[in-house]
Symmetry: C2
Subunit: 292 residues, 2 copies
């Protein structure tokens, strides 16, 4: 992936960051500021890490659509990043304000779609307000998996075979609006990620190995991560971080393979260091960009 | 599925049952005896339930292939059923006897295949000794899921939509030698079963709901079970039992849908009763027979 223009080169004004769960939004906020642009963080009550309060921010409840847009407009914000884990809310959990009621038909549509559709729907509602959605990878390309190894170790030829199988599997799952992760060991599919997320999938493999349900000696198995086909990389990009490496180490995997240019890595240096210490590889592999 | 000849109608002599883990082998042994045929159970040390000792039986360690065949031949056994969960062993866990050494090339092949291939390989080694492998469903067709509801409740039209999606998903996964189970809720894939098994998948959904990772109100989601395409139904047939119903109830699913004629139900009356008590449906759905 090339990035012809430097971050923040054309657009002035703060960058809004709509923050899901986890540490990722803070990482992106830090990268944004490092690139010379001011972040403005939107936290979702009950979802977002309170750490966002280190930056200019506003808190909204799910459904407070009017409050969200009012906060942005008062700050001449033209661009927004959607980042971090976003739990699909139940309709009954939503706290609608007048701004939401005005947009009721668009919001209702969100509940008739899969997760892919949910995020796409949120994005299109935001864009209808005149904001431009940008990907975290455009703002902070330093966070993307490159092609090739990231730590000291590289995948073996056998690992490459498992990586290729995992990539084919994830592509086949794309039609079902799932599939950002799978774990493959010598041609055998040990686990597939659906709603539980990567950390839970890794914990499952660790458990299967310690219980003897899956019997493999030494380091075995490869975590493969790639976006769904048709996934808009401006939001819901697959991501890994130190927690992923820790989970892979506990599952005694051989390593983690990431679709280059399509998976975000938080705290890359720390990931590489901890993977090295655990004897794992972390590497990007060339993977067709998902068709939009 | 029709069964023109009654169980045990043509073949005399005891029926050997190679017993994996769980209560299933005992159920099949009971059905065999009820049909007027004597079962002879082969238990695998560390895998099989000691309850098999209620029947004529022999214990073998994994790799004691010679001992297995000697026990069968001394009893003029011509047919064998393979049933119950079988963990893929590590090569180093195997205890080879002379009978195994003589069959070394065939055994070595088993370790170069997926699980589907593992069981097919075991079957072909057995058949090379002149034994015929029969399916538990041929011996005990009463254990098979029929078309339509099994307990008091039937799937709704929305459930049928989720069942169809699950069936398509499992078909797509077949190419990867996995996929006997998935859980779908209103078009969303909550979980896919790989090496962890159905019980662990159900527990995961229960956990995701109680933690709030997946937010659904009331009974929601359908467990869909179907064999892999190309799966030989004479062994490794998908199965459910009271434990599955208990798991589905804990996950607060709406029900369980089983590919008719292709999924075994242990303790059917108990399953129906417990599903009724929990407010779940259990139903068979028409599903293309997997191409062999």
């Amino acid at each position: 992936m090339t990035c012809a223009s430097g971050p923040g080169a054309e657009v002035s004004g703060p960058l809004a960051i709509l923050c899901g769960g986890g540490a990722f939004p803070l990482e992106v906020a830090g990268e944004t500021r490092r690139a010379g642009r001011e972040p403005f963080l939107v936290g979702v009550v009950g979802v977002t890490d309170p750490g966002i309060e280190a930056y200019p921010h506003v808190w909204v409840r799910m459904g407070e659509v009017g409050k969200l847009f009012a906060a942005l407009k008062g700050r001449s914000i033209a661009e927004m990043v959607l980042i971090g884990a976003m739990t699909r809310p139940e309709f009954t959990d939503l706290r609608f304000d007048w701004g939401a009621v005005k947009r009721a038909p668009e919001l209702a549509q969100l509940f008739r779609r899969g997760d892919n559709g949910l995020l796409g729907g949120i994005a299109s509602i935001i864009e209808r307000e005149g904001l431009r959605i940008v990907g975290a990878h455009e703002i902070a390309p330093r966070l993307l998996a490159p092609v090739g190894r990231i730590g000291a170790r590289a995948p073996s030829a056998d690992d490459e075979t498992d990586i290729a199988l995992g990539a084919r599997l994830l592509a086949a799952l794309s039609a079902f609006d799932i599939g950002q992760g799978a774990i493959i060991a010598s041609g055998r599919v040990l686990a597939i990620e659906a709603a539980e997320g990567t950390d839970a999938m890794l914990a499952r493999v660790a458990e299967m190995r310690s219980s003897g349900r899956v019997r493999l000696s030494g380091l075995a198995g490869v975590l493969v991560k790639a976006p769904k086909q048709g996934q808009d990389l401006r939001f819901d990009m697959p991501a890994i971080g130190p927690k992923t490496i820790e989970g892979a180490a506990k599952a005694r995997l051989r390593g983690a393979a990431l679709a280059a240019g399509q998976v975000l890595i938080v705290e890359r240096e720390r990931c590489a260091r901890e993977a090295d210490a655990a004897g794992l590889f972390v590497a990007g592999f060339a993977h067709a960009t998902p068709a939009g």
